[in-house]
Amino acid sequence: MQRIYVHPLPVRIWHMINAVGFVAMILTGTQIRYVGLFDLMSFRTAVTWHNWIGFVLIGNYFIWLLFYLFTDKIRVYHPELSPTKHFQASFRQLQYYGYGIFKGSPNPHQVSAYDKFNPMQSMMYQVVMFLLVPLLAVTGILLWDVQGFYGAVDFFGGVRVVDAVHVLIYIFFVFFIFFHVYMGSLGHTVTAHYKAMFVTGYEEVEGEPDRGGATKP
């Protein structure tokens, strides 16, 4: 078993803040939208917390962005430009999670410091980090001060369109939180990926690492 350093400290800090922040945003957002259905806190408290945490998460996004923009680790987000290769690899990955993993087959994706995402993760994280999170932040800022950003809100089609986009992405993240946490438990032990992402930064993989990154035997 090799230990490969794939989650540098800035990424782990960003991820920790994001994890707590997104759960808090989903809870406060749900409270704002569904007053009466459940009452975790008052509407005003939920709005205040939602606004503050939202701004913290926007700042946090820039930790992630600046880290990847100014280090060579950006390679982990490089897309696979050949659709055939991408879909073949995705299909292999899907077969692994649907069958191979139960049989004890090796993961078709070998983690390394510059290639830490399997093809399905890679595609999903590109959509999440370059499209959904920025859209969520922009629509959130517009809704935070509809009067002040009247022109921009109107440009995007009115407050209902802006709200619908914000809520649709929130709905996606409600699903994603469950999915993401569960997928994190599918390492070689249930807690292996959690330990790597939140504490050590080292992923444990079978055999020799194929390229790059600090390793520990």
Binding site: I32, R33, Y34, V35, G36, S42, F43, R44, V47, T48, N51, Y97, G98, Y99, I101, F102, K103, L143, D145, V146, Q147, D154, G157, G158, V159, R160, V161, D163, A164, V167, L168, Y170, I171, F172, V174, F175, F176, I177, F178, F179, Y182
Partner: protein
């Protein structure tokens, strides 16, 4: 045949004579209209009112009060003529003035304030219900306690230029620090003060409604109906095919009709939380009793969203309202027709609620489904392993 041709035939000279006469007649016909258009609103008043304004129209008309104070007796004729009381005339409120003795025997007025208070009795002659609501209001309590700044009817509605005003414009006339006071505790205070009538929170016992009012974004003002061309109600009635209030589709149709001129900047509906009846706005409570609970509006089925109307301002400044169904506020079809009104939690779309439920189910189902799949595959693998082992054992048993 030849005779009739002679009748229908005109010479060039006769043609020009007719043309000049026609133009002259047209100009003559247009003259009164032109003169009317240029006339001052005060000219529309009755002869009796004009007689009153003969003296009271002057800036210089003043009355000395005891204590050396001076009361202006000037009435702005145009302002009065354009007011909602213009059609009633001076005598409707000043019936006590006897023209046989006026102005020779002037009234005794102790002070301007005393006179305003006394005149509330006159207001109650027509506005008894409003005055009844006012009796328990914070303004009436202040007046009873003798506070000199306690407002009476004319302080909010003015004495002669009585026009329907937005509550906010009226209230901030005295409550100058209203915005700062709300900013201390109310998120988006500016937006709330723009779209929520003051009385909607400060008359907590009153019933509220949503007024979807037509706004001209290009001109930055509420849309008013053109004088003499009352189109709005007819258009709304035509759109409301089943006559039970506008539904989301009918509202779209109405907005399409209002914005049929594609070259013009489109007009939009802006939602305002108002009181169902204006008289209820007089039930103003003290600050401590005002609504501070956000969920009065920001929850599904909230009371203000049970009554909805679409409106614009009539030529004389009053709101012209047409009923809409409450479902228009949460319909997915209203994305464009209500692009400027949305209250978080209160007007949320059912379609998005269903999507959220599906996302939640999918989020829980993926781990459960994957674990079930794990059990099935493992059982299958164990069965295959058993069969392999049995087959091997069978093979070994053979000689």
């Amino acid at each position: 045949m030849a005779r009739s041709r002679r009748v229908n035939t005109i010479t060039i000279g006769t043609f020009y004579t007719h043309l000049v006469k026609a133009v002259f007649a047209a100009l003559l016909a247009l003259l009164p209209a032109t003169l009317m258009a240029a006339a001052a609103p005060a000219d529309r008043l009755s002869d009796g009112d004009k007689t009153c304004l003969g003296c009271h129209g002057s800036d210089a008309l003043k009355k000395e009060l005891p204590g050396g104070k001076v009361l202006s007796l000037h009435v702005q004729g145009d302002g009065f003529a354009q007011s909602v009381h213009g059609v009633l005339g001076c005598a409707a409120c000043h019936a006590d003035v006897d023209l046989k003795t006026h102005p020779q025997n002037p009234k005794t007025i102790a002070s301007s304030r005393e006179y305003s208070i006394a005149m509330t009795k006159v207001c109650s002659g027509c506005h008894a219900e409003a005055l009844k609501h006012n009796e328990t209001s914070v303004h009436a309590k202040l007046l009873a306690s003798g506070k000199p700044s306690a407002p009476v009817c004319t302080d909010c509605h003015s004495s002669h230029a009585v026009t329907p005003k937005t509550a906010y414009d009226t209230c901030v006339g005295c409550h100058l620090a209203a915005m700062e006071a709300h900013q201390k505790w109310l998120p988006n205070a500016g937006l709330h003060l723009e779209v929520v009538s003051c009385a909607a929170c400060h008359a907590p016992a009153a019933q509220r409604m949503v007024d979807l009012r037509l706004y001209d974004g290009a001109a930055k003002k509420w849309v008013s109906e053109k004088e003499g061309k009352p189109e709005f109600e007819n258009m709304a009635r035509a759109a409301d095919t089943d006559g039970n209030g506008l539904n989301a589709m009918e509202l779209r149709k109405l907005m399409g009709q209002i914005n049929r001129d594609e070259a013009a900047q489109p007009k939009n509906l802006r939602g305002r939380i108002e009181l169902r009846t204006g008289v209820e706005a007089h039930r103003l409570s003290g600050k401590s009793e005002a609504i501070k609970d956000c969920t009065i509006c920001h929850r599904q089925g909230a009371e203000p969203f049970q009554n909805v109307s679409v409106s614009l301002v009539s030529a004389d400044g009053k709101p012209l309202r047409y009923k809409a169904q409450k479902e228009v506020l949460s319909s997915a079809l209203s994305v464009d027709s209500l692009r400027e009104f949305y209250a978080v939690g209160g007007t949320r779309s059912v379609f998005l609620d269903i999507l959220l439920l599906l996302a939640l189910l999918a989020g829980v189902s993926v781990p459960i489904g994957h674990q079930i799949l794990k059990i099935i595959v493992k059982k299958q693998l164990a069965r295959e392993a058993q069969q392999d082992a049995a087959a091997k054992a069978k093979g070994q048993d053979r000689p």
